[in-house]
Subunit: 94 residues, 2 copies
């Protein structure tokens, strides 16, 4: 197991594998040098949770929906690559 | 960390993220109930290694190329779901 480790637990009954795998690929593209690994974890019961090492940074049940990708990237950035710009998606909306 | 854990270490310089992520999704589709997690691990230097828990079941450098998906599935099946049929891809070629 490598750290920092991003873990994405998704509901298989909801068929969220593709969503989880897409999220994983986006994170590994953006944080290629910073992330140790991204793990896809099959779950059930409507789960879509994202954990960075021991911290839950997104839980669909608590937050009431799926994360915006840019929001998730900001949360990961703030923890493992502070000061790093995320490019155009990082600018405040007008 | 969940077990059984399948780990795919891929070379970022070779741009094998898509290949690794595709392999991960295939494995999670076929072994949805059996796999604890699939981890994508960014690496360098031409690596494409697949590990199941502590065992390396594929190493591009040792085997001289990338794995055939059906072959990889057979190896995983034999270890975590023996006796399970893989369907049409599991039949011997004529």
């Amino acid at each position: 197991m490598r750290q920092p480790r991003l873990e994405i637990e998704y509901c298989t009954q909801c068929r969220w594998l593709l969503r989880a795998a897409w999220t994983a690929q986006e994170m590994l593209t953006t944080f290629q040098a910073e992330l140790g690994e991204v793990a896809l974890v099959p779950g059930t019961g409507g789960v879509f949770d994202v954990r960075l090492d021991d911290e839950t940074i997104w839980s669909r049940k608590d937050q009431g929906g799926h994360p915006e990708l840019v929001e998730l990237k900001r949360m990961v950035r703030d923890r493992i690559a502070p000061g790093r710009s995320l490019g155009h998606s990082d600018r405040a909306r007008p």
